[in-house]
């Protein structure tokens, strides 16, 4: 799941890097797509954090396994 956060952030940065190249009327699309990937990254990070917190509260669960997904 940490990998997924990294991939989404990378995609957001890669899309944002297109901003100077894009023609002015398409810059809004570039920003929108980068923002979507940022939202994905934040949601995935929050999901990951909640899983880690939940797993740390229940001793029988395997937090490490979930963290590696």
């Amino acid at each position: 799941m940490r990998h997924r956060v990294g991939c989404f952030l990378f995609a957001a940065v890669a899309v944002a890097a297109l901003w100077p190249v894009a023609v002015p009327e398409h810059r809004r699309i570039v920003v929108a797509v980068a923002a979507v990937y940022c939202v994905f990254a934040v949601l995935t990070a929050l999901d990951y954090a909640s899983r880690v917190r939940r797993d740390s509260q229940s001793p029988s669960s395997s937090a490490n396994n979930d963290a590696q997904v």
């Binding site: 890669a14 899309v15 297109l18 190249v21 894009a22 570039v30 797509v33 990937y37 994905f40 997904v69």
Partner: protein, 255 residues
């Protein structure tokens, strides 16, 4: 003096700019555009290329698979959330198989509305450039029918290897995933066509399939296959550019 024509009967807009009495179609994507650019550069030098057209194409070569990927993830999550309490997997699969017929039809429509226009655009540009049609001419019916026939025959005779790569080698698609990927790609293509932006159907559906795979888990996607597909896309552009440049120089030498 630059003259422009916006294709009235096609969702994908073509910008025809006469330079030295020749017309160049810009505003299209990937290999087709690279090939045309290669031919134009070989013949008249790099000054004939229109940077705004190239920038539009270049940006959306990167954006279209990422938009398809994001939309496919959203669709897939929505479908999974909607049906996660339903236990009858067989019934659900039947439902999604039927839904896939609709999504595949929409995707095909998107393909025709965007990708297929490029074929007609090249023929139209040649006809206008050679003086057989006026600069403001619409696409003749015979060009439409010839392009449709060629695309249909190509689809009919296409290899199973591409079907296999997209359907089972990037990630193993179930009916629900296929429906989500096709719907996401169709929406991307419709939006691109409505905005006059040429994008590649293949790039879009490949991104959408990766998006469907990553919803399950990152390892559900065979990243080595996805990387090979990506490299093929990257290499296609300079390859088409070079082949077109060589062909243009050969034709010029002969005539």
């Amino acid at each position: 003096m630059p003259m422009g024509r916006t294709g009235a009967d096609s969702p994908t807009r073509f910008r025809l700019v006469p330079t030295n009495d020749h017309f160049f179609v810009l505003f299209r994507s990937a290999a087709a555009n690279a090939a045309e650019c290669g031919g134009a550069v070989a013949r008249f030098g790099p000054d004939v290329l229109i940077s705004s057209g190239l920038r539009k194409i270049g940006v959306f070569i990167v954006l279209s698979p990422l938009i398809g990927l994001a939309l496919a993830m959203v669709f897939m999550i929505v479908v999974l959330w909607t049906f996660h309490r339903v236990n009858q997997v067989d019934r659900l699969n039947r439902l999604f198989r039927r839904g896939q017929l609709l999504s595949a039809a929409a995707f095909s429509l998107g393909h025709g509305g965007n990708d297929a226009q490029k074929t007609m655009g090249v023929i139209l540009a040649v006809l206008i450039g050679s003086g057989r049609l006026p600069a403001v001419a619409d696409v003749p019916l015979w060009v439409v029918l010839a392009a449709h026939t060629a695309i249909a025959l190509g689809t009919l005779s296409g290899g199973w290897r591409i079907v296999k790569t997209l359907g089972s080698r990037i990630t193993r698609l179930q009916p629900v995933g296929g429906m989500a990927a096709e719907t996401a790609a169709a929406v991307t293509l419709f939006a691109a066509s409505a905005s006059g932006i040429p994008v590649s159907t293949t790039h879009t559906i490949s991104g959408a399939i990766v998006g469907v795979g990553t919803v399950h888990r990152m390892s559900a996607v065979r990243w080595s296959v996805a990387a090979r597909v990506l490299w093929a896309w990257i290499l296609t552009i300079p390859g088409a550019f070079l082949v077109a440049a060589v062909c243009s120089l050969l034709v010029q030498a002969v005539t």
